[in-house]
Amino acid sequence: MTSAPPILVAAHRIAVRHALALGFAVLLALQALWSGHLGNDSALETSPGAPPGMTTLRLASLDEPALAGYAANLYLQGFDAQAGALLSLRLADAQAIYAWLERAYAINPRSGYALMLAAFDYAKPAHLHDEASLSQGESAVEPVAPRLLDLVERAFADDPARHWRWLAHASYVARFALHDDERALRYARRLREAPAEASVPRWARELDSFVLNRPDATDAQRALLGGLAFGTPGIEAKEIDRLASRLAEPAATAPGPGTPRQLTK
């Protein structure tokens, strides 16, 4: 048997190496094409689904409640920005949002993150959702917005020092978005009667005169956001930016256009 000349063997080896490299490049390009073809699921989910149970969250996080709580909050807050598109919170499943926020707070009660989402971000859209449900004759469904605000109230009762500022915001939302003066005043009273060690600032203790008694929602919002931004010890720059951007948005709907209404006590 005669073996092939060395130059042919070397040429064969080089050809095989090139063929392999080419094959690898082609397969990689096919993978990229396939991945691009699949794309992101463009259909927006309107419900985040039911949250996992407390025990499931504890087990899944290896008993790290802070991680589980913050992860639940981040998941929920990212829910309205799916696949690069914004989902109107009015379309979202408000009941499921409440369930997630309640769970996130329950597993990590030292954090006010879920309360911020409840009072600052979700209460007003949830109220619009409630009104839409009511107008469609779904009277059996329990309104979500008051439950979100009551979650903040319960959290404040547990730890007033940590959670007073979101109760102040909840009071504002109750008065100017839900037009529920009784609820707004109840929250204001809770703030006024908070123990001294809770370090609730004076403007928040006097919320009814400082914010709630203002006839104009925009004016009240400005006072509230100013109080939160400059009267909250240790507030982060990111939060101040959010409060400032909220100032640029229209305030909660005031009752009756151009008809200032006094707070009914």
């Binding site: 996080s61 290896l62 802070a66 709580g69 913050y70 981040l74 990212g78 006010g112 993150y113 911020m116």
Partner: protein, 279 residues
């Protein structure tokens, strides 16, 4: 050798000095085994792995921080601490198991025991090497936490992570000796860790379900199991970083638990090595 001969000729307490020389030789052998264990891990890119993992944990925490709308400091810690802890555990378990199994399969243990070293001493020296690897891994993976968490909470958290990893390293050593294969040993070590972290929740569930569950009879077994696994749920808690440092006595209790369980696992490994053939 020369000094031993001189001592034999000129001192009256020959036996005592000879004993000291033997001890010094054994200590050198043990140091060599411990050093070789660390060198082997270094050649296996353990340090690079731990450093890269620390960077990735830091990046994950920064990502979570960038998403947070409030409590950004707490969110950073809530992600960096538990993820860093879990990754550190995986690195230590994999490094330990791979080293022990390789030594067993390549037969280098036989060579090591040709030196004047008992089997118990060999295990102790290996454990010392793994404990040092665990300590360095703990410091590296705690770096993202140390960068942002307040002192002394961050220091206590890091010390607790070091103790937790030492326990895991020595338990993994014992498991790898007994099982002798990488996949089953790694699986068993991780299962042991998860059990030690979550058994208190399982027990709580069992007690709650006693009135209606068919598994009622298992509760005493779980309760017994809880007595024999270490209380790792009390180690390296993220809430120390968020709510304030625990007392130093808490760390003392953790150190006692770590010492006790490391000794227990070490004795188990020695028993296995003494009864099993040297393969």
């Amino acid at each position: 050798m020369k000094s031993a001969g001189t001592i034999t000729m000129h001192t009256p307490s020959t036996n005592r000095v000879a004993g000291r020389c033997a001890w010094a030789a054994r200590r050198r052998a043990l140091q060599t085994i411990a050093r070789d264990t660390i060198l082997e891990a270094l050649r296996g890119r353990w340090l690079w792995l731990a450093a890269s993992a620390a960077l990735l944990v830091g990046a994950a925490a920064i990502f979570a921080r960038s998403l947070a709308l409030t409590e950004t400091h707490e969110v950073t810690l809530a992600f960096a601490a538990p993820i860093g802890r879990l990754v550190a555990v995986l690195i230590v378990v994999l490094t330990t198991v791979a080293s022990v199994v390789r030594e067993k399969s390549e037969g280098t243990l036989l060579l090591a025991l040709a030196a004047p070293v008992s089997r118990a001493s060999w295990i102790a020296a290996k454990a010392l090497g793994f404990a040092l690897i665990a300590t360095v891994t703990a410091v590296l993976l705690a770096a993202p936490v140390l960068a942002v968490a307040p002192m002394p909470a961050a220091a206590i958290w890091t010390a607790s992570l070091g103790l937790e990893l030492i326990v895991l390293a020595i338990v993994s050593l014992a498991i790898a000796r007994v099982l002798g294969q990488i996949a089953p040993a790694v699986s068993a070590a991780i299962a042991f860790y998860v059990l030690a972290r979550l058994l208190h929740i399982v027990l709580l569930l069992g007690e709650r379900a006693q009135s209606y569950s068919d598994l009622e009879s298992l509760t005493p077994f779980v309760r017994l199991l809880r007595l024999v696994v270490p209380r790792l749920d009390l180690f390296t808690r993220t809430d120390w970083l968020l709510d304030g440092a625990p007392s130093w006595s808490t760390l003392g209790g953790i150190a006692v638990q770590a010492l006790l369980y490391s000794s227990l696992a070490l004795v188990a490994a020695i028993i296995d090595l003494r009864r099993a053939p040297l393969t």
